[in-house]
Symmetry: C2
Subunit: 136 residues, 2 copies
């Protein structure tokens, strides 16, 4: 069965000005996506005023997103993928560009439906409608 | 400080054909986003052959994504948000449309930087460059 992977990565760059150079940041991200083995089908982005940037890329393998909050000196990267792409390449290239002083990276399997325990700070709801579904 | 919320929702509809009606599905999702208080700045979508759909919406409040895999009878919904929108509205409206027989929903805070324990099936990497960053 096709496996769906998800990376949630929070990066705090040492130099917050890098988050204001949004075109280089987005270019690095898209080039990293291609280097990871992804195929970019379309992309859109938005520059907020006075600061902050969002970029979304629709991939053959799912999607990626980048959000920046300059005042919080924070970048949030999501990569959802299936197939053979290597999403860690995107994380590593963004980290090489941003020189983060701190990174929090979480990885999940999606659509697996297995019972999971709950991590601190995480809320989970799960419900089933008694026995009518054969998928899981 | 602005809080960033993330929902990861895996839905298995009882009737897989609903996942093939992609235009109603995407319309329901976008209308739900507006009902949740989100402002949609742009959106893009892709219909895969022979089946499968991806929709991405760039929001003032961050983004949402929908991916379907008809052969796995699976829909993956992500909502990343900040501010006052109510992302649960989107989950509830999609659930009302899809009548899922099973749902797995996980909620996270992003950019908080707190120490977290690790849930089953979740991998976490975290690193800091000793003491040079004052953000956290």
């Amino acid at each position: 069965m096709l496996r769906h992977q998800q990376l949630l990565v929070d990066l705090w760059p040492e130099d917050g000005e890098l988050l204001e150079r949004v075109q280089p940041l987005w270019t690095v991200t898209l080039e990293a996506a291609e280097a990871s083995g992804a195929t970019i089908l379309s992309e859109c982005s938005h520059q907020f005023e006075p600061s902050g940037f969002t970029g979304l890329a629709l991939l053959s393998q799912s999607h990626l997103s980048v959000h920046t909050w300059v005042e919080q000196r924070l970048l949030l990267l999501d990569v959802q993928s299936c197939g053979s792409m290597r999403p860690q390449v995107i994380v590593d290239r963004l980290a090489a560009f941003l020189h983060p002083c701190s990174v929090e990276q979480r990885a999940f399997e999606r659509g697996a439906g297995e019972q999971r325990s709950r991590g601190a700070g995480e809320q989970e709801r799960r419900w089933n409608r008694g026995g009518r579904c054969s998928i899981q």
